[in-house]
């Protein structure tokens, strides 16, 4: 299945993209996707703190993904 992965702030700079289409095995979790990102983009490991959002909601790494999901890597926020 394919998911759309979005990056912001430092994450965007480390990956070098705003977003990526990524193919993950059926049954994959958000954590599996993160592992795949770390393998493919070694500099991603420099982002030592982040949360994950699935379809605009903060999610645990064990959240199962579905085809077409929008997954975002959320570095520590600093709005305001």
């Amino acid at each position: 299945m394919t998911v759309n992965v979005k990056f912001f702030a430092l994450g965007k700079e480390l990956i070098g993209e705003n977003q990526l289409e990524m193919t993950v095995p059926d049954g994959a979790t958000a954590g599996d996707l993160i592992d795949q990102l770390k393998e493919k983009y070694p500099r991603f490991a420099e982002l030592n703190s982040f949360l994950v959002a699935v379809n605009l909601e903060y999610a645990e790494l064990n959240t199962p993904l579905n085809d077409g999901d929008e997954v975002a890597v959320i570095p520590p926020v600093s709005g305001g």
Binding site: F8, L56, A72, I74, P76, V77, S78, G80
Partner: protein
């Protein structure tokens, strides 16, 4: 009303969007760009945002505030992109029948916004650029 915008914020428009005839208090918070941070001179700030999720999280915060205080109307705008010293980065306007609720709700909304809303600021100083971690 909630907006994430790359354009300069029209503060009067935000105030008008929050005004309500049944309210005697309309509290407005402006967050502006400061010229120094952590002992360094700041030249400008660059904001990044996840607009769809940011709007959704701000709506949730407004709903939370509405459960705690008698918020009749509110309007919130957050800027993105490159901001100069003195520019308005965020405006929060909250209308309540009486003033105590408007102060409390306005402070709650800006505090929670800084905690959970996916917006990021990068400080650009003479000696380099840093993405800020408000919780570090």
């Amino acid at each position: 009303m909630i907006e994430i915008t790359a354009e300069p914020i029209d503060v009067q428009k935000i105030i008008a969007a929050a005004s309500s005839d049944d309210c005697g208090a309309l509290n407005v918070f402006l967050g502006t760009v400061r010229n120094h941070s952590r002992g360094k001179d700041v030249n400008r700030l660059e904001y990044d945002a996840y607009p769809a999720m940011a709007s959704k999280m701000i709506q949730r915060i407004v709903d939370e505030a509405g459960e705690k205080w008698d918020v009749r109307k509110s309007a919130i705008s957050h800027r993105t992109g490159v901001l100069a010293i003195g520019d308005v980065a965020v405006v929060i306007a909250v209308a309540t029948p009486h003033r105590q609720d408007s102060f409390a709700a306005c402070q709650y909304i800006i505090d929670r916004l800084k905690e959970i809303v996916p917006i990021w600021k990068k400080e650009v100083a003479v000696d380099g650029e840093t993405w800020i971690d408000s919780h570090a």
